[in-house]
């Protein structure tokens, strides 16, 4: 058998596998998230909905940045009037900021639980509820079993889940569809204008199920996400070391 034939065969098999796993085909009725080249990293080039996305942050600014990026995604997901449930152990999110990321703050229900165990329980309950568009939980640690439970919950209801891990001691394997790390990068100002300009981020997609991890640079403008670079970049130093050996 020729090499090209083999390649074609394997390519076809991979496509079939994606269909069997329930990954939607690219079509006109699936709205893009506006992430530009980043979306090509996902299977079939579609930002996966109805799965769990995991975000990691290592300091307070990192948490704030991740919240901003997720709000940008939520704005796209909730544009049809859907609602989001934001579960955490503390109240530090400033709802006014959500508005500038395209989310209607009135459509976000904030739930503050006393213990982290209850946060995960509440998230699982919320993920099973079909009337909700997205659920976001802020926790400190997520293990494989917990992530598996959450993943099973979304498979029935097709709610999109976001887990924001603050300062995880150990980043183990999880059943989440993607693991992100968002960090800020100096913003670019036009022609030496004063001020601080639009927020600019380094987006590292550390893990993607059936996709290609990588790094992208993105700016949030008044119109939404705007990729700084048109192509995928190799993972940065930190991400590279993470990919090689995991986080100590």
């Amino acid at each position: 058998m020729l090499l090209t034939e083999k390649k074609a065969l394997i390519g076809q098999l991979k496509k079939d596998l994606l269909v069997w796993q329930g990954v939607p085909q690219k079509s006109a009725d699936v709205l893009p998230m506006g992430l530009g080249p980043l979306e090509e990293a996902f299977p079939n080039g579609i930002f996966p909905r109805g799965v769990i996305h995991e975000f990691v942050s290592f300091d307070r600014v990192g948490g704030a940045v991740s919240c901003g990026f997720i709000s940008g995604l939520l704005g796209k997901l909730m544009c049809n009037g859907g609602i989001c449930i934001w579960i955490s152990c503390f109240h530090t999110l400033f709802p006014t900021a959500l508005k500038s990321f395209g989310v209607v703050p009135e459509h976000v229900i904030f739930v503050r639980m006393e213990r982290e165990k209850d946060v995960l329980w509440a998230m699982e309950e919320a993920l099973k509820c079909e009337g909700i568009t997205a659920v976001l939980a802020e926790i400190h640690h997520l293990d494989f079993v917990q992530s598996r439970r959450l993943q099973l919950a979304v498979e029935k209801s097709a709610v999109t889940g976001f887990i924001l891990q603050h300062n995880p001691k150990l980043l183990g394997a999880t059943a989440c569809a993607a693991r992100w790390k968002i960090s800020s990068r100096p913003s670019q100002l036009e022609d030496g204008l004063p001020g601080i300009g639009y927020p600019s981020w380094d987006i590292s997609l550390l893990k993607v199920r059936n996709g290609n991890p990588g790094c992208w640079q993105m700016t949030w403008t008044a119109e939404g996400f705007e990729p700084v670079t048109k192509t995928r970049q190799e993972p940065s130093d930190w991400a590279q070391s993470y990919l090689n050996q995991g986080l100590a």
């Binding site: 948490g63 940045v65 400033f94 703050p105 229900i109 329980w121 800020s184 100096p186 601080i196 949030w220």
Partner: protein
């Protein structure tokens, strides 16, 4: 709450009713008669007969002598009660508590009802007009006490309202009969020349008691409001409560679940029939040893959804300690609210806050952990960051003002701003670097100042000059300087938030 009562007096109750049923009786004098000691006695006369001098108590034979044209109809026994009952049932539309007051009256407990008709005046005007349209001659009055309302309906001006706490002054001019006294007492008062209530109401109580007995004082106190008077509503308001006694004491969780399901089924059936839903429910389990175990639930929106209520209770069944067994289950619903079942079906599959599944989810979260806070934020008309939002009171509340997003706002806002040390050129330039928790951050880009004044009518203090700054890694912070630059104050700078 202050009680208000309305007394309705039908002067010609029975004859009006006859005239309504028999139009040929209109315009002619007629009486209703009952046999008494072998002769017919007038029991009720219409107003035309009264004009001719025919009053209840006269013998028909005597009346016929001076008014041969008088029409006499035999009265059916028990007519008064029957009429009053049906009128009282009709009056339920005006208040839920209606009592009959034989022989010719109805008493309404109108506390908290009159405003629905635009105040007490239009309330009694409305009732009076409806009765007149039906052909009944009615006098209505409203007062704080049943006694006063009764008196003024019968002896006062037509359709009068006694203002709150004014019943004593109003009663003074009325005759003694207005106090609902026994005939013997009335006669004694009459013979002593005490014709109005005012002539004896201010006399020493001991003297009144010695001469006229306790009953006079009791009635006087009832009319003034010193003594409580109760009425028995013709349609008592049933509490939302279901009971389930058990043949054998229940000790297992399955048993409690079965009992709960039965109780919920019964109460939801009733609630759905009445168009109401549960906001709060309590399950009381009476144990064999006399103790009562109870669990309660609350909902975000009125619901009569059996399955959902069961799920809420099911989360708490483990808290019940059955000990030797439970012999009686009582399900009480202390708080109900109207629900619109049509609307619920209509929005059943809608995305968003109207979806009942979402409110059911919030109920479940709340009942698992009562300490959890569930909030939704609406914009408030304040520039001061801490006050720029407020929590929504209900799922249906909508924003009345817009969110202020002209200037960038941080995604994370610190509850209490944290003091920082800065190096900043004076007087109003952004800082060059700042020290926060032992680390130094060099500022590369900055935006500001944005001055936000403290709202002096709410609290006192300095204004804030906010700067949005970015350090060399691109991390963004929201800093402010409190008040004007002042040499004497060492620390005026604070960190208030983190930008995305």
């Amino acid at each position: 709450m202050k009680k208000r009562f309305a007394s309705l007096w039908f002067r010609h109750l029975k004859t009006d009713w006859m005239a309504v049923g028999h139009p040929q009786l209109k315009g002619i004098p007629f009486v209703l008669a009952i046999p008494n000691h072998g002769k017919l006695i007038v029991n009720a006369s219409n107003h035309l007969a009264e004009q001719e001098g025919v009053y209840p108590g006269l013998a028909i034979a005597d009346v016929k002598a001076f008014l041969p044209s008088l029409k006499v109809i035999n009265e059916r026994p028990g007519l008064t009660e029957k009429l009053l009952h049906s009128i009282a049932h009709w009056c339920i539309r005006y208040t839920p508590v209606v009592a009959i007051d034989p022989p010719e009256g109805i008493i309404l407990d109108i506390s908290g009802c009159a405003h629905l008709w635009g105040g007490e005046e239009s309330y009694i005007r409305h009732i009076g007009q409806r009765f007149q349209q039906h052909g009944y001659d009615v006098q209505i009055s409203i007062a704080d006490t049943i006694g006063a309302a009764w008196a003024i309906a019968r002896f006062g001006k037509e359709n009068s309202i006694v203002k709150a706490n004014m019943q004593f002054d109003t009663l003074l001019t009325l005759p003694a009969q207005a106090l609902r006294l026994e005939t013997s007492v009335l006669e004694r008062l009459q013979s002593l020349g005490l014709k109005t209530i005012g002539s004896f109401a201010t006399m020493p109580r001991t003297a009144l008691r010695r001469r006229f007995g306790n009953h006079l004082l009791f009635r006087l106190d009832q009319a003034i409001g010193h003594e409580d008077e109760f009425i028995v509503s013709i349609k008592p308001i049933l509490p939302y409560e279901e009971r389930l006694p058990c043949m054998e004491p229940i000790r297992t969780a399955e048993g409690i679940e079965l009992a709960l399901q039965q109780l919920l089924q019964a109460i939801c059936k009733r609630l759905i029939g009445e168009g109401k839903g549960v906001r709060e429910a309590v399950l009381q389990c009476h144990r064999v040893d006399g103790k009562i175990e109870q669990i309660n639930i609350g909902t975000n929106r009125a619901t009569a959804h059996e399955q959902h209520l069961f799920q809420l209770f099911a989360l708490k069944i483990a808290q019940i300690e059955p000990a030797l067994g439970i012999e009686l289950f009582i399900l009480k619903v202390p708080q109900v609210e109207e629900v619109d079942p049509v609307q619920e079906n209509l929005w059943g599959n809608r995305i968003g806050l109207d979806n009942p599944k979402v409110t059911e989810l919030l109920d479940r979260l709340k009942s698992r952990d009562p300490a959890c806070e569930i909030s939704r934020f609406l914009p408030a008309a304040h520039y001061w960051p801490e006050r720029s939002m407020k929590t929504a009171d209900s799922v249906r509340e909508v924003a009345t003002v817009d969110w202020q997003i002209e200037r960038p706002r941080p995604t994370r806002l610190l509850r209490i701003p944290e003091p920082i040390l800065v190096t900043a050129p004076i007087p109003d330039y952004p800082p060059l670097l700042f020290r926060y928790k032992g680390e130094i951050y060099t500022i590369k880009k900055a935006d500001g100042p944005e001055r936000i004044e403290r709202e002096w009518w709410i609290e006192k203090g300095e204004h804030r000059d906010y700067y949005a700054v970015e350090d060399e890694k691109g991390q963004r912070y929201w800093l402010y300087r409190s008040g004007h630059y002042d040499d004497s104050l060492s620390n005026q700078w604070f960190l208030h938030g983190f930008f995305a």
